[in-house]
Symmetry: C2
Subunit: 710 residues, 2 copies
Amino acid sequence: MITNSAPSAIKTPYTVNLAQGDPEEKREEIRRYFHETYDAYEALFEPLLEKVAYRTRADALRHPLIFYYGHTATFFMNKLVLAKLVDRINPSFESIFAIGVDEMSWDDLNESHYEWPDPDDVREYRNKVRDCIDNLITTLPITLPIGWESPFWPIMMGIEHERIHLETSSVLIRQLPLKLLDANHPTWQVCDRDNPTVSNELIEVPGATVKLGKSRDDAYYGWDNEYGSYSKDIETFSASKYLVSNKEYLEFIEDDGYTTRDYWTDEGWNWVTYEKASCPRFWLPQEDGSYKFRTMLKEIDMPWSWPAETNYLEAKAFCNWKAAKTRQPVRLPTEEEWYRLLDYSELPDAPEWGKAPGNINLEGPASSVPVDTHEFEHGFHDIVGNVWQHTETPIRGYAGFEIHPLYDDFSTPTFDTKHNIIKGGSWISTGNELMRDSRYAFRRHFYQHAGFRYIVSDAPVEIPDDSWETDPEVVPYCEFNYGKEYFGVSNYPERIAQICLDLATKRTRGTALALGCKTGRSAFELAAGYEQVTGIDFSARMIRIGVQMKDKGYTQYTLPEEGEIVSFHQANLQELGLDGARGKVDFMQGDLANLKSIYSGYDLILLDTLLERSYNPEKFLESVHERLNKGGLLVIASTYDWQKSVTEQENWLGGFKVDGENVTTRDTIEKLLSANFEQLGEGKDVEYVLRKTARTFDHNVVEVTAWEKK
Amino acid sequence: MITNSAPSAIKTPYTVNLAQGDPEEKREEIRRYFHETYDAYEALFEPLLEKVAYRTRADALRHPLIFYYGHTATFFMNKLVLAKLVDRINPSFESIFAIGVDEMSWDDLNESHYEWPDPDDVREYRNKVRDCIDNLITTLPITLPIGWESPFWPIMMGIEHERIHLETSSVLIRQLPLKLLDANHPTWQVCDRDNPTVSNELIEVPGATVKLGKSRDDAYYGWDNEYGSYSKDIETFSASKYLVSNKEYLEFIEDDGYTTRDYWTDEGWNWVTYEKASCPRFWLPQEDGSYKFRTMLKEIDMPWSWPAETNYLEAKAFCNWKAAKTRQPVRLPTEEEWYRLLDYSELPDAPEWGKAPGNINLEGPASSVPVDTHEFEHGFHDIVGNVWQHTETPIRGYAGFEIHPLYDDFSTPTFDTKHNIIKGGSWISTGNELMRDSRYAFRRHFYQHAGFRYIVSDAPVEIPDDSWETDPEVVPYCEFNYGKEYFGVSNYPERIAQICLDLATKRTRGTALALGCKTGRSAFELAAGYEQVTGIDFSARMIRIGVQMKDKGYTQYTLPEEGEIVSFHQANLQELGLDGARGKVDFMQGDLANLKSIYSGYDLILLDTLLERSYNPEKFLESVHERLNKGGLLVIASTYDWQKSVTEQENWLGGFKVDGENVTTRDTIEKLLSANFEQLGEGKDVEYVLRKTARTFDHNVVEVTAWEKK
């Protein structure tokens, strides 16, 4: 030990109710919660015996512990500076300890890039930060409820952030060489029991609807990814009574689990071959073929009744092996299925626990306990606690997801389909981690104090393929179609569709074609009046968003704010009242100048800001009557903004002189259509605004003309 | 003659009062005016003896007469089609006869490009057009006053257009071979007098202010270039009593005028050497050294007492010769000086004449008369009439110039500084050409029935160098600074300047620096509160507009409407109430990243949407306090819209992450300025709209922050 203080007794109160109570008492409650969290994190580092322990990398792809020791204090400072509540204490430390939490590339970890400070200096820095925050808690104005906008929110953010690192740093310490650690530190003693192994069995969980997502006015601190709403009907399934124990997992290993390609996903097989893994990371194979087991601070005999701790890839391979052996659809639960199990267990949310219902919140030993220790309703064990439980579900935002402005990269980098959700918490999970709504996700090859429960279900697992759309050509049209209004100009595709629907009153409204549909909004809107709508755009990248909307009901995209800073947005058909249109809309890629003849027989064709973006618009107009039913409508919206880079000048419909007189696009449209169409009413101007950055926009005015086929 | 009708007696009523009278009587008056104009134009072609006369080019660079014969009818049709009042009568003719009035390039005139119709067919077409317009005059609704928007306006436009061609075609006929013409046609007989020559003398014209430009509610038809307002103080000058006679001009010729380089402008010398000219075009040098003279239809003995008919270049060379000989500042009058002479003569406007006050309106012979025939007030002769009088002034629009939408290229192609104004009218000038406000201009080497009067004046001639700004980078900023408002967003540079002026209340307001001033408006606006303002922009092309505004008080520019169709705009400091600022503002080209140290000692520096367009903005901000006086203001407006193409990313002030946290431009500005400045108040959003085409705009929102130097 490098400090002489006595070992700490860790206190782990529940996270603070931010809505109810006396403000000044709340101030003191937050102060206690802050100090006890800070204390707990300090206590975690007490077993590090030498300064070298701080500088030694526990994981080849992660920073040494010194980084994490400084990081939680620096995080407080960086968020509070961002919130303009404090000035910097140590700009150098606050740069060194700012980033690098996650796995890094080899190059980033080149030692020569880092000059790690002395742990004593970092401890001194941490103390200064502690004083600073304590002072802030004293002086900041406080009103309840404390919401996203409150100056206390970044303080809660820093506390809960430190609680996450309390857990993740304990995983790193579990990978440090034993000689650097005080195995006998009294605060971190492991469970001394290893029960006779129990054989696992399946218990039915009746189907029901689960509702997920936290309300904006929830009384407790939450990370951005918890808010919003999502509901899902869960079919009846069966789930294993216990988490998979080391003993149960051994069967998989002994049945050539780690060498049988078929059990592994592609990603899993890549991992297992790259790592040359033959068992979970914390199993220590001995020369005689037996195993020892690594806890946070020491090596012990293999505790066969404890839960198997694996990464997702190993858990998934186990399930596939089990499915092959049992010929049953064995797999991990999805996020929603895990919640169904939680709901079924009728466990109240953490603040009502009084006492931990399982091996969680540091109320037990500093390790797992046998899987049959903590029983919940219906015979299940370890609904929460002991180790985290892997799920099949890559994390994403719920409908209504928004990012807290002080921490815009907490969740979004993980919304990449590569980070799977873990649920239930471990023996060292505290604070927000205990809460029903909390959601944490890690890369599938990462280790936490995590194992798994398997289920048997015929329900397919829908893996959302929803990374964030970042294509700079496409994202402005995501916002344009599904996002906010700017300068008081209402949603353009909605208005264009409404013009069509108004014109279509008392007409046949069978099929409609939306040409130039971009990311699809106009097609969904037209479905309110037409039986079937086809949206066509030249750009497959645009169409992809429409298809996502149709298939999944939502899409996610980033928008440029300033320079390379982006914001994150989610659009959702349900919120727009368009969910019912999903079955009536199709999207196809197509070229106006060469549109297939199958696109015929329509009651409406909407040609939306497309003429002026086609390399040869005349051909289409000359024959468009052949694509419409008698009495059918043609609605043309155009800025008449011809660009030589898009349309060779000889193919422009207007914007030039003939015989000395100006010929406008409108003139030519009238000329081309007059033989087969009657014009309905006058041209009508409709504005639209296309957001480019937070402060720059295109603001255009289309003319809309409507034509009835004779 | 190719028709058998009797020679016409030409009637030349004054142009119609469009504001007063009974509407139905007005309808009949317009009908008479139309037919009498159409008749007069037909009569002009009566002396053409053979069809070949129609197809023979009078001028090598002009179409043959057949084009002009058809053109005036086609003009009616094209304008009325554009006004959606009629359908086409003969689309082929209406294309053939549409364009090519002016001098053309050799290539355009390649005969193989043209298949000229038979004159009889054209006559038949003209008759159909006559019937069509007569019918239109009968059926169109009529209300008085008849203004720009009235359907009778394009009818008046067609009539006055034909009256112009009555004159210009007579000049072309004057260049046809004599054998193709009936020299004895009774309608077109020349003056048979040649007085003894008088010697010219100078008469003083006292200085006064002249006010030019026609009011929008004037009762008479006007071309676009006549409207607007312009006033000028004219110094006392002397003007020649008579127009320069052939006899007086002969002195110049005999004094080696055509071979002495010094008398000619560069353009004049180019012309005289290219044309190998040795005398005016209608002088016919004989082998014996004497001259004959060409009238419209025949050759006569040299009428020495008639006015010399020259182009501008010859008139100017004569003046220069005269100046050299007399050592007096002899030159042509400017447009304004000509008007001063007209005002001094107290001649009423044409509709009040009763009888022509000179050889004009076809009330005399079909030629000039001796220069001492028609005397006006103060002893001057030919104030109007006989021949047009060249002026020094290239034509341009007055303040408030607007283009009639049905004829957008009547004037603007001549606003190129290459077309000089002629004044006063000739023997064949009629209709609008008689009116005080009418303004016609031709290229300086063109011949009309035009001569000149010289003046002696010390006043310099200001030749406006004001073609239309068409630079696609610059014209949006002309409109942005001096043009209309769009989407209800008020003028941006005016508001930015007002923010500065509001902040400057009760502060020292000596000198101000407007950085990123674009085309200059903000600098002019700041001059309302500061003694001296310097506007700086990186682009010399932008600055040029500001300099024009300062020097001349106005600028002209085209704006893209749709495709290659443009509209024409004039901006005028007087109209904007900023004329008084001209003496307080300077413009310089400068680079923010490398701004000279002389730009120091300011009480205000405005940095307007420039940081984000500089390749290295930090250096300036670091030292800007050195350029300000104590207590001086720094006002920064920015969209924070960094583009890699403009600013290398390493030089951005914000829009990136440092140590994992977003750094905004605003953060960096605060950091860079905090040592030397106090921020005044909060950032303030200000919108601006930049017009790109009639239907496409940039709509941005800058943040404005203000800083006081400590």
